[in-house]
């Protein structure tokens, strides 16, 4: 594995291997000195053409915990849009001796293109509505570890609710959960499902999911409620009527919270829109027997990203053992 662009390109063994290495990284992070020399002398460059402070800091923290040097490139302070092509930018940074690029871009496919432009490793940190593979991995990791299931989620029922159409998280997390054996139901108005779902109503080839248009129909039968971020701008192109209407029909309300099974889990990739997809007091979840995994997703993100960086270009397992 030289790059991590899409979870679609990984088989079950690859994904299980990354999650098992993440267990080891979580153990490193629990040490008094949470740092190993695995990537000493390596340079990781965050190449963020779209702002995402959370994801960038998570990757940079992961790189630092592995003793890599980190560089940050953000488009706003660069020569992008000043006549230099994207390829020129990448080649220039690569020429400075970057070992790996962590790439975020608003357009699907740019991380893939970068693999053709330089010899560095490329980790996709989110490209358009295509993939956010480390999010998919950290979601599978968080859920399976919270359920003490190892790398096996067979029989676990997940409802993923919201803007599937525009979501790179959905495309990665569906794949990761499916590979571990979970069954995923997409819940959204048809306008927020990928275009291939519209028309016949049949689930298109390549999507290991079922579909519901009513959260109320599924809320009582699921083990995991996975809420996606609903962006207010979506009403500008008529994907939804209003955030209020969305919240009333597809948000987590007190009524729906009461309908959830005792022992169920709540997940969200962040950042959360309070009052839209989440319209309940999150502090009340534990008293209802619901486990909120949102902060654990963030914490585990670092271990999973360490696992990815180490797997792509770490040198030898001994580098993460000793202190």
């Amino acid at each position: 594995m030289k790059h991590l662009i899409s979870l679609d390109a990984l088989d079950a063994a690859d994904i299980a291997g990354l999650l098992s290495t993440a267990d080891h990284m979580a153990e490193v992070l629990a040490r008094p000195q949470p740092k190993v020399p695995a990537l000493r002398t390596k340079t990781v460059c965050s190449l963020f053409f779209e702002d995402s402070t959370r994801t960038r800091l998570s990757f940079e923290t992961a790189a630092k915990r592995l003793s890599a040097e980190t560089l940050t490139f953000s488009a706003s302070s660069s020569s992008v849009n000043k006549g230099e092509s994207l390829r020129d930018t990448v080649e220039t940074l690569a020429a400075m001796g970057v070992d790996a690029f962590v790439v975020r871009h608003k357009t699907a496919g740019l991380p893939q293109a970068i693999t053709n432009w330089c010899d560095a490793h490329v980790v996709n940190a989110g490209d358009g509505a295509h993939q956010h593979p480390t999010q998919g991995l950290l979601d599978a990791f968080t859920l399976s570890r919270a359920m003490s299931r190892g790398n096996d989620l067979s029989g676990v029922r997940v409802a993923m609710v919201g803007d599937i159409r525009h979501s790179r998280v959905a495309r990665s997390t569906i794949r990761a959960l499916h590979v571990l054996g979970a069954s995923v139901t997409l819940v959204a108005p048809a306008s927020l499902l990928p275009a291939a779902f519209v028309g016949t109503g049949a689930v298109p080839d390549g999507w290991p999911v079922s579909v519901s248009h009513s959260l109320d129909d599924v809320i009582g039968d699921i083990d995991v409620l996975y809420l996606l971020r609903m962006q207010r701008e979506r009403m500008d192109n008529a994907f939804i009527s209003s955030p209020g209407e969305y919240s009333a029909h597809f948000g987590l309300t007190d009524t729906r919270l009461a309908a959830m099974r005792n022992g169920a889990f709540l997940m969200h990739p962040g950042p959360m829109n309070h009052g839209i997809e989440v319209a309940v007091d999150l502090d009340s979840l534990s008293s209802r027997g619901i486990t909120n995994l949102v902060t654990r997703q963030v914490t585990n993100g670092i271990a999973v990203r360490m696992s990815v960086l180490f797997t792509l270009f770490g040198s030898g397992s001994e580098a993460i053992d000793g202190q």
């Binding site: 092509s85 994207l86 020129d88 699907a108 432009w117 358009g128 291939a196 390549g206």
Partner: protein, 436 residues
């Protein structure tokens, strides 16, 4: 008989004329076809003995040279990507004798000065006839009608805003009324722009998987329907550029059955490549309209075969490499077509060679109003001739591209047949597949 110096004899080929096929040699001199008859080779003095230069055409077809209804020559304004000279040479090597130059130049072809410049640059290059199209609206902005009368007087026969399809129904209605009495043709790139904002590929299963903004078929279908109704109302002629959807073929077929004065074209890439080509996210395959599905390809091939689609037009769209070395949203749409078109048509259209000559020469010459092109090869007629083979396969290589850009999608695809010789106004432009 004493032969003229500079005359050329095409020997041993099969002449494809509208009136029928004919095994004959073709003698060209003084810029015209002088004789078409069997056994001229034996009757005339040898090449070294004062006779005409011989161009061997054994096993080949001889027809009027091809006419491309849709060539982006990029000059003036984008000479880093292509010039009229380089596009003209690519055209000649592809078997073309004439190209309709698209108006999205900078400045645009919305005035007589630019149109005359484009035509003159074509004459200076001297490889093919360059016929400038005109804009429908000034600056292709969709608001003010271009000076149709002045442009028509300067020889423009085809008007289009190409990639900026005319959105405003009032402007299109008036343009059709304005064009009708001039005897010129409007050509529309059918697309409701509001439905394709930010689109980079066909909307469907592939775009859904890749998370790329989709270019829905309905955007083409709705505009096609609207404009057919405007044609029905105004009686003006309209040409529909590069159809890409199965439904579009049905709609045009119905319009023709209704007797409406409409014509349509399809590109080589829309009958050979599907949206799956975008799976690797290569900007090479971003094109407007987008590559669609195998179902669409089959309908387009059927439409081409039965004459619903009149012409194959390349939409030759060179882009310098640095423009394509961007993300898919930022990269401009378009791919090369002139040098590969015949090979793609022979390999992928499913049409007979005769039907291809009709779709690549006779019909587009008629649509473009080019009187010296697309004519039968007969004594006294124009000597715009292509000699081509329909046998064998070949691969295009980057080195074989004479355009200034190399954004061809065909390097990994077997192409069929090949262009042997091309004569333009009696001059040998290509001989043995090589530019003279």
């Amino acid at each position: 008989m004493a032969s003229e110096s500079g005359s050329v004899l095409i020997t041993g080929g099969t002449v494809i004329n509208g009136s029928g096929d004919l095994r004959a040699d073709v003698l060209v001199g003084n810029g015209k076809v002088e004789r078409v008859a069997p056994d001229l080779d034996a009757a005339l003095p040898a090449e070294g003995a004062g006779g005409p230069r011989r161009l061997a055409a054994e096993g080949c077809l001889v027809s009027s040279s091809f006419v491309d209804l849709h060539t982006h020559m990029r000059e003036p304004g984008r000479e880093e990507s292509e010039t009229i000279a380089t596009a003209s040479l690519a055209a000649a090597l592809g078997g073309y004798g004439a190209c309709v130059a698209m108006p999205n130049t900078d400045p645009a072809q919305d005035n007589v000065a630019v149109v005359e410049f484009v035509r003159l640059q074509g004459e200076r290059a001297g490889f093919v006839t360059v016929a400038p199209s005109g804009c429908i609206t000034v600056g292709r902005n969709g608001t003010q009608l271009a000076p149709f009368h002045s442009l028509a007087a300067a020889g423009v026969r085809l008007f289009t805003d190409d990639g900026n399809g005319v959105q405003d129904p009032l402007i299109m209605r008036r343009a059709l009324e304005y064009a009708r009495e001039l005897g010129v043709t409007l050509a529309q790139h059918c697309e409701v722009a509001r439905l394709t904002e930010g689109a980079v590929m066909h909307e469907g299963c592939c775009s859904s998987r890749l998370g790329l903004p989709g270019w829905p078929s309905i955007a083409e279908v709705l505009m096609l329907q609207r404009d057919i109704e405007l044609v029905r109302e105004t009686g003006a002629t309209m040409h529909f550029l590069h159809l890409s959807t199965a439904r579009s073929v049905e709609i045009v077929r119905q319009a023709k059955n209704d007797g409406l004065p409409v014509t349509a074209e399809v590109t080589p890439h829309h009958i050979s490549l599907t949206d799956e080509k975008l799976s690797g996210f290569s900007t090479l395959y971003k094109v407007n309209p987008p590559l669609r599905t195998m179902e669409d390809i089959e309908a387009l091939r059927a439409g081409l075969a039965d004459g619903t689609i009149d012409a194959i037009a390349t939409d030759h769209a060179p882009h310098a490499q640095h423009l394509k070395d961007q993300d898919l949203a930022a990269a401009p749409p378009g791919m090369l077509g002139l040098q590969a078109a015949l090979g793609v048509a022979l390999g992928f259209s499913g049409c007979s060679p005769r039907r291809l000559v009709e779709a690549m020469s006779w019909a587009p010459a008629r649509i473009a109003g080019l009187d010296d092109h697309g004519r039968d090869i007969t004594a006294g007629g124009p000597a715009n001739i292509v000699v081509f083979s329909t046998e064998g396969t070949w691969r295009q290589t980057p080195e074989s591209i004479v355009s200034k850009s190399t954004n061809s999608p065909y390097f990994d695809i077997d192409l069929v047949g090949g262009v042997r010789h091309v004569l333009h106004r009696g001059d040998v432009i290509v001989s043995g597949g090589v530019a003279q």
